[in-house]
């Protein structure tokens, strides 16, 4: 396993007026040895480009990739010592599970007895030991994905395991168990794991660090909790959390931020002038219905209630027609009723031009 460093790595598939049109803007990023990382973002945000650059499928137009300090930018896929699991399970269908797992070792010219030992080890790890003699084509997609992963794990020289949305074709029920298995394996063996997904649940449950991307840039890298509680960018607030963060137009007066003349908090950071446009962000989990009107509550009308069983998503409309979502565990109001809502002050966040300010 290894530490991966991206130094000024950027890639443009084409150029506009002589200027490179970056699909991935030049960036610096370090993935530490044994860490589990998720690249999270909407389709076309550059996450697969980044993964392909690391795996060697794509040579970046700028920058260097270092694996344990060794520059591998110009090395081909074969020489990178990476393992990759693709979106669709890739197995050698005519071969048995055993032959599939042994394939990379045979290619490397390893002795038969050593191959046998390694394959059995990995098969036991992935619970594939009972089906070693079955033909891979007859297996279910989740087992095929495990074989793809096994072909990576069987080599002991693997620097990093890359996964490109590997659970997309798996049934929801199997998805859950496979996700847990992936996490266990990565935790037990200390592999550096990079996982690409557009599903925030997958990213949050699998990775220690989530790299949120948008428009070819890394917007924030942090633990799931950091991303949830302290989004550094509006995009993170919007992309992480279900439902996404509420954004309201605020006003700054002498360092105090107010929404519809209702003070919601004050800014620690200087340099934001009075009257400047500011966005106030609050997670639906931190908006509450208050029993009676207070100084810090605003009047709202309930326009929609979605009962999700253990909680309810309530949409309310404020006096200025702004829509806000609340996530309530109990006592959801009925549609058409009116109420007073309040925010948890420590959980209110502020954004200027899309970037978080303190």
């Amino acid at each position: 396993m290894a530490k991966i460093e991206l130094k000024g790595v950027g890639h443009a598939y084409n150029s506009i007026n002589g200027e490179p049109n970056y699909a991935l803007h030049p960036l610096d990023l370090t993935w530490k040895d044994g860490g589990t990382y998720a690249l999270l973002g909407p389709s076309g945000c550059g996450k697969s480009t980044m993964l392909n650059i690391v795996s060697g499928i794509l040579t970046p137009s700028k920058g260097q990739i270092l694996v344990d300090g060794r520059d591998v930018t110009q090395l081909g896929i074969t020489k990178r010592n990476i393992a990759q699991v693709f979106q669709f399970p890739v197995v050698y269908p005519a071969k048995t599970v055993y032959e599939n797992l042994a394939f990379p070792l045979r290619c490397a010219g390893m002795e038969r007895s050593k191959i046998d030992k390694r394959v059995i080890e990995v098969a036991e790890l992935l619970n594939l030991d009972g089906i070693l003699q079955s033909r891979a084509r007859r297996l279910t997609p989740d087992l095929k994905q495990l074989i793809s992963l096994g072909r990576g794990l069987v080599r002991d020289d693997v620097a990093v395991i890359l996964m490109d949305e590997p659970l997309t074709v798996i049934d929801p029920q199997l998805k859950f168990s496979l996700r847990r298995k992936l996490r266990d394996i990565s935790a037990r063996h200390g592999h550096t794991l990079v996982y690409v997904t557009h599903d925030q649940n997958e990213a949050m449950t699998l990775a220690e660090q989530v790299v949120v991307m948008d428009n070819g840039r890394v917007v924030q890298m942090g633990t799931p909790q950091e991303l949830f509680e302290d989004p550094m960018h509006e995009h993170v607030g919007y992309f992480i959390g279900s439902p996404s963060m509420n954004f309201l137009n605020g006003k700054v007066t002498g360092g105090v931020v107010s929404v519809m003349d209702l003070p919601v908090g004050s800014l620690k950071q200087a340099g934001i002038a009075d009257g400047e446009g500011i966005k106030v962000g609050i997670r639906p989990e931190f908006v509450h219905i208050q029993k009676s009107e207070t100084k810090a509550s605003c009047f709202a009308k309930v326009v929609d209630v979605q009962d999700l069983g253990n909680n309810a998503i309530v949409s309310v409309k404020l006096v200025d027609e702004t829509n806000i979502k609340l996530k309530l565990r109990e006592n959801a109001p009925s549609i058409g009723s009116t109420c007073f809502i309040g925010f948890e002050p420590p959980m209110v966040r502020y954004f200027v031009d899309g970037v978080a300010v303190q």
């Binding site: 896929i77 074969t78 693709f86 669709f88 890739v90 290619c107 033909r135 990576g152």
Partner: protein, 291 residues
């Protein structure tokens, strides 16, 4: 409900009628003719029972032409598959001049069979053709291309391969271009070289399209006629005579229409049975076992 059935039939009727007209009627008519003694002297649909079929069973020339056809068709289709696959693999990743080279490869297929057969006959002409000039330069002496039974068969196979390799090439190239990228990337990541990648990824992935291409070509190759007609006329002797050519001789040269019909029907039945068996074997060996 009955009304609906009636409407369904009404809409199906035009298609069924056309099918009846173009497939069933000629087939049924041929079967009927095969039980008649229709020839140049006594034309007409009389009834002679199974006489033609009895005659056919002891007609050694027909059975020889059938086994010869089998050998020619299998050999040429095998070479067409090998060359077609080879060429498709060569141009698969081609970036420059891809359109022009692909069009060039297709020229043999677009040429009129008779014209190209005449050209090939000229090339292999024993005293005037360039083939023997080249053979002479290589010190091989004069080769009896069209007057020796083995060489004549070789020439027929060669011309068929020349003409139909592009068809294989086209089908297999389309197949290659439609393959997903991931298995190839996975093989590269696993450290497989080009030969391992071919046998473990490319060939198994191409198996279904290979079977399709081979069957289509075998059906076509079993009807080989113009090439034989123009290049060797079935000669020397009957050494390159294939079934269709023999049926043509009996039916349109000797005007033994009834007998030719019996030959055709027998040929058709044998072909259906044989090709079904071949298709089954190919599917089992190439597709189901995944090679």
């Amino acid at each position: 409900m009955q009304g609906l059935t009636r409407y369904k039939l009404l809409f199906l009727l035009p298609g069924l009628l056309i099918l009846l007209g173009i497939i069933l009627f000629p087939l049924i008519f041929t079967i009927r003719v095969s039980f008649s003694g229709w020839d140049a002297i006594r034309p007409g649909l009389d009834w002679i029972g199974g006489t033609n079929y009895g005659r056919l069973f002891v007609d050694g020339r027909f059975w020889q032409s059938l086994s010869r056809l089998g050998a020619i068709a299998l050999t040429s289709v095998m070479f067409e598959y090998l060359f077609g696959f080879g060429l498709a693999l060569l141009v698969w990743h081609q970036v420059r001049f891809r359109r022009i080279t692909r069009v060039l490869f297709l020229i043999p297929m677009m040429t009129t069979p008779v014209v190209m057969a005449v050209i090939w006959r000229t090339i292999f002409h024993e005293s005037l053709g360039p083939a023997n000039d080249i053979a002479g330069m290589l010190g091989l002496g004069t080769i009896p291309w069209l007057t020796h039974s083995v060489w004549a068969t070789v020439v027929v196979i060669l011309v068929d391969v020349w003409q139909w390799t592009p068809f294989m090439f086209l089908l297999l190239l389309a197949g290659l271009l439609s393959l997903p990228k991931e298995p190839f990337l996975a093989a590269a990541i696993d450290g497989a070289g080009p030969i391992r990648t071919f046998f473990n990824v490319t060939f198994p992935a191409m198996a279904p399209i290979s079977v399709g291409a081979l069957i289509i070509r075998l059906i076509e190759a079993s009807k080989i006629m113009e090439t034989v007609y123009v290049i060797t006329s079935g000669g020397p002797g009957t050494s390159t005579e294939t079934s269709s050519y023999y049926i043509f001789i009996r039916g349109l040269r000797d005007f033994q229409i009834g007998y030719a019909a019996a030959l055709s029907v027998t040929y058709l039945v044998i072909m259906i049975v044989l090709l079904t068996i071949i298709a089954k074997i190919l599917t089992n060996t190439l597709v189901k076992s995944g090679v």
